[in-house]
Symmetry: C2
Subunit: 408 residues, 2 copies
């Protein structure tokens, strides 16, 4: 019998408890041993559950109990999760977490502590909810040099953008529906400003390229600026606007990383990802593009990924150098002057001057679209280095200019 | 240093040799040991390669060499691959294969021999080429009860159907292009009749449901009957025709399994899989639908999956009960009378009689489409048990009737 503790009994934590406590022998078959949930840590009281007797509000009960071999951390946030996880690892307990904020901030350090104490620190559920991505990335794609990762990493923003696209609904209304459906928090900042996606691309980049990437190193833009006009323009150009987290290996050995609303070509599978679904596209030198798709959040999908890690831990209680990366450094994440195509949405009261300036800068053949609703014009630039494109765009005679990136 | 042998130097075998021999230290880093390709078994001579000295045409050289710890089998076919693999396993060598025909025919037996000899028998490359699917299926989704798998498992037929759809090209012309591009063999039977997809769904079903499924237990229909009319009708109904391999867990504990051209709803991600790409959709009770997408064939994608397994083997030379299933039995694969919607394409010289009979059987509200080219009519039935639908369809007054399944 393997004793475990679950820290946190919120959405994911209660799902983990249900899967492990109500399991019908399948998990026991897989592990070849019984997994016993000995404690659940939560400050709240849950008196009406069949497993109410397992609750404790005292972390020391868990950390001091040598019988506990695996601890599931599903509290979220950095404090006190960080201190708790660190102490468990130092005391020789493996830790499984779904906490992307913690892994993005402290992953390199916690992995190192786990290795030194010959235990596991696993976090499949921290990216893509129930979608298997971290393990395939490192294990099945081990023969590949990974060059690029692009992903729809946040279901809430994808739901909102999708609502805008399919139902011609503006951002505020779509956000309201996402909140009513429970997809978005009352304070939706972490989702709509891209912070959640940012933490996930940090973890993916760290695993793929073997150095820690800190959230503040990633150029992050949310979706609050995206209008229905942009969505219609994009559609007419053959694109769909998605919030894309991206990380690329550069020739220098460093990487670039960003989270931003991006025009994704309808030829790209990522453009077909609707609703709250997530998808992660990985480019390997041998395999080409591989894509993983599924529910990126939610109680049971995320809990199933946590329990998958618990099963793996229970089968291999000793550390394997499996999920690992080294610490990063300041200059590791660059903003290279890459060759690209940009989407430009320019507004001016003087539309003839606006059009003339665009044509003189980008040529007669440029395909421009005009809104029926306002005095805006949109176009896709030719392909050129970003610096050259930006210096041209600066010369457009417009009152307001919005620039978005593209992904083909 | 870990010595390995590669049996077969065809498309995949030469890719494996290139990845392992020309590797730049990344694989050595992952394994923490050097992988040395000691022998390559092939009856042909390859004199102009940098590694020509490694070739042998004598299997005994490999099987008798105790230094060889891992053997890669990329010869294809059942004989002599089966005898060779079996002997290697019996002699305590781990085997990695991409040979779906072998695994579908002899998987249960070879897995058992591997376990008894404390070595690994790995075959990630046998399904979905370079797409990580087998490992995620068993490891990351371990907490899930898998209920259903649907996949586009053959790139050649997907390319052909895609050509028909996008370029309005008939089957024969599309096949010719697939052959010219090297996607289809001169004798394309294994692809277009569904045999290749059948082997892959056997392997997926075996892993997901833990009992061997033999190819002859799977109702298999190829795509040779699909016409441009069907493709257009499907499009108008909101569907795309794909060759779908499917396996479902039944309430009885047995399973159903099939390979057949299927109308896939445009809402289903599988409908977006174009060209030679493959995709596999897995339904788990906790995670919901998860989809894996990528290149399902080709030299380097498949070779990269083989080498991924070699790396895994090299890191864990002893057997882990990892990929495993038990032997199957005759009545294990059932054809249940499931509730479904069928596509019907009916042709008659007497079109008024045809239409009347359909309306009297399926109701006034049935949406029928008529071809501009011939005297055919197509419609989707209401949802009902397959037996009831078929008995109604039998009463349609038509000269010819084609029935296809649907996937929503």
């Amino acid at each position: 019998m393997i004793n475990i503790a679950i820290m946190g009994h919120g959405t994911v934590g209660s799902g983990v408890a249900e899967l492990l406590i109500n399991e019908n022998g399948r998990i026991e078959d897989a592990v070849k041993s019984q997994i016993n949930v000995k404690y659940i840590l939560d400050l709240r009281k849950f008196d009406n559950l069949s497993y109410s007797d397992k609750f404790t509000d005292d972390f020391k009960v868990i950390s001091d109990d040598d019988e506990i071999k695996i601890v599931v951390e599903v509290m979220g946030g950095i404090n006190p999760a960080y201190q708790f996880v660190k102490e468990c690892l130092l005391k020789g307990k493996s830790v499984v977490t779904s906490n992307k904020e913690l892994v993005a901030a402290k992953g390199a350090e916690l992995i190192d502590i786990a290795n030194k104490n010959n235990v596991n620190f696993l976090f499949e559920a921290s990216v893509g909810g129930g979608i298997p991505i971290l393990r395939p990335l490192i294990s099945c794609l081990a023969a590949n040099e990974i060059s690029e990762i692009n992903g729809i990493l946040n279901g809430t923003t994808n739901f909102i953008l999708n609502k805008m696209i399919k139902d011609n609904m503006d951002f505020e209304d779509a956000l309201k529906i996402a909140q009513d459906k429970g997809y978005a928090e009352k304070d939706p900042t972490a989702d709509i400003e891209g912070h959640d996606a940012c933490r996930k691309i940090c973890i993916l980049a760290a695993l793929a390229f073997k150095k820690h990437v800190y959230p503040n190193q990633v150029e992050t833009t949310g979706i609050t600026d995206i209008t229905l006009d942009d969505i219609e323009y994009a559609d007419n150009f053959g694109f769909v606007i998605k919030l894309i987290g991206s990380a690329k290996k550069l020739a220098s050995g460093n990487i670039s990383a960003s989270v931003r609303p991006t025009l994704v070509s309808k030829e790209n599978m990522l453009s077909n990802v609707d609703g709250v679904f997530n998808a992660i596209s990985v480019k390997g030198d041998a395999v080409g593009d591989v894509l993983f798709y599924g529910r990126g959040a939610g109680k049971m999908p995320t809990a199933s990924a946590v329990v998958g890690d618990v099963i793996d831990c229970a089968k291999h209680l000793n550390a394997r150098e499996y999920l690992y990366w080294n610490d990063g450094f300041d200059s590791y994440v660059e903003t290279p002057d890459e060759s690209t195509v940009l989407y430009v949405n320019a507004t001016s009261d003087n539309s003839s001057e606006l059009l003339e300036s665009i044509i003189s800068l980008f040529g007669e053949d440029i395909k421009m679209l005009r809104s029926s609703k306002d005095n805006s014009v949109a176009f896709l630039t030719n392909k050129d280095t970003k610096s050259k494109l930006l210096s041209k765009i600066k010369c457009i005679k417009a009152d307001k200019i919005k620039i978005l990136h593209t992904l083909f």
